[in-house]
Amino acid sequence: MATITYTSREEIEVHRFSALATIGIPLLAIFFQAYVSSRLTFLKLFDLPLIVTVFFAVSRRNQLAGMLTGCSIGLIQDALTHLPIGIYGISKTIAGYAASSIGLKVDVDNPGSRFLMMFFFTFLHDGVYFIVSRHLLGIPADWRTLHELSSALANAIVAVPLFALMDRAKQR
């Protein structure tokens, strides 16, 4: 029997995830992003770990859980780069917190709201990443509006079917 790790707020909906899903889905997303994007370059436009972060955050509707999920996924992503550890960590912690906060107020099961939510959170995540890397650490980075917009759009489009797929891992 699968172990229950988290519960969402009982008043709205209770979404639980097994330990396998809690650990496996984020790791799979990071692995897929790191490995497959070496073969399929366009995948670098997407941020699968961010989609997973937002999904878990809005499903659990718990800000602490959202932060922790974002922090863990972000730190692992950081470790795969050559940049200081913590940039993705901070960005995804904030994204996780914001997503779980929104999950308390918005219907997050609607595909339309999922699309808009993902678009917004990608923009927020990239903005935080830019500020931390450029202004906090002084790493050479440019804000490319068009690129960020396309990235946000791509993530929003992919998020809708991926959320539906990951819904199957939910336990009530």
Partner: protein
Amino acid sequence: MLLFLLMAQVIVLATQIRRPETATGESMSLVRFWVVQAFVPGEKAISSFGSGVRNLWTNYIDLRGVRAQNEDLQAQLDRLRLEQVSLAEDAGQARRLQALLGFKGKFISQTVAAQVIGTSGTDRSRVLYIDKGSDDGISIDMAVITPKGIVGKITRVSRHSAQVLQINDATAGAGVMLERSRLRGVMRGSSSGIPEIMHVMADEKIEPGEPVVSSGGDQIYPRGLPIGTVSSTSPDPDGGPFLVVKVKPSANLDKVEEVLVITKVIDKGPQQQQAAPALRAADILAQRLPTITPKPPEKVAAEPPPTSALYATKPAANSEVQSGTAGVRKKPAEPTPGSQSVTNPTNSGAPPAGEPATETRQSASPAAIETEPPTSEAKKPKPPSATEPSQPQEIPR
């Protein structure tokens, strides 16, 4: 909350602790080490499975058109052979000129082939992971190339994998030179992945399409490796006195699958390169020169042995000093060219029976003749002694 506090502390600890890498002496944070060690085996496994399937397909199944391709390649090979002849002439001339000017160059002497097994997964950090590490002789700051051009340099190494920072990353840089205009500069990557050459004055004439090669000034990439071509030049958008020179990398950095890591670069002067061909030329010349009629054996026996023969009786320490020249002197006296590459002076004893010492000198190349001492000296050799250690060294010069 307890979980959060504990986890935060573990993360802080793991970020601070650095794990020393024994082979390279470099260190890596514990978090990074854990993640890399966790992901690399899976990436390697999938990568080797993928290559196995691909090899099976390409080497055994998908062989249509190979015969026609083989014929095309054969024709191409013939054409390239002809080109090679003229290029060899040019290269020889360049070497001679370099020798005259006393140039020293860096030459790639050893490389390790590696396969790309992953990336960072984001274009904010353009790094690759390869399946070779410190156990294979990889260490930090080694250049990584493909036959088409430079890929980047090694930034982190673990035992069985290494991280490569691509040259188009925003934090990467390389010393470059424009091939035609010989203009030197520093190339930096950018967030967009298009490298730019920095601080080129606006009055410089740079044409798009001009090849860009490594200048060797960064001490990482050996000189002359292809980097890319100038894709565009434009004035500084900030109104500065510089040009914005964008470079299109030669290597397809988005689809790199196999790379070569330059593990050894040697400094080599053109004189050293010329040494071997000069000897061969001298041998050929010696064979073609008319030989003097051998003198009667009894007269030869009366003559003193050549100086090289006398020095051969000295201790090994003294003999090693003149190893190069002793070999040169003896070569023409050998009966066959194949046995002439004797550089050990302990073997350069008395001339072979029936061959006089004078013939040895006359049949030698001009260079060898110059190094030979006058006959009078050869006839009056002093016995080696500890008080005159420099005498054998002076003779060849």
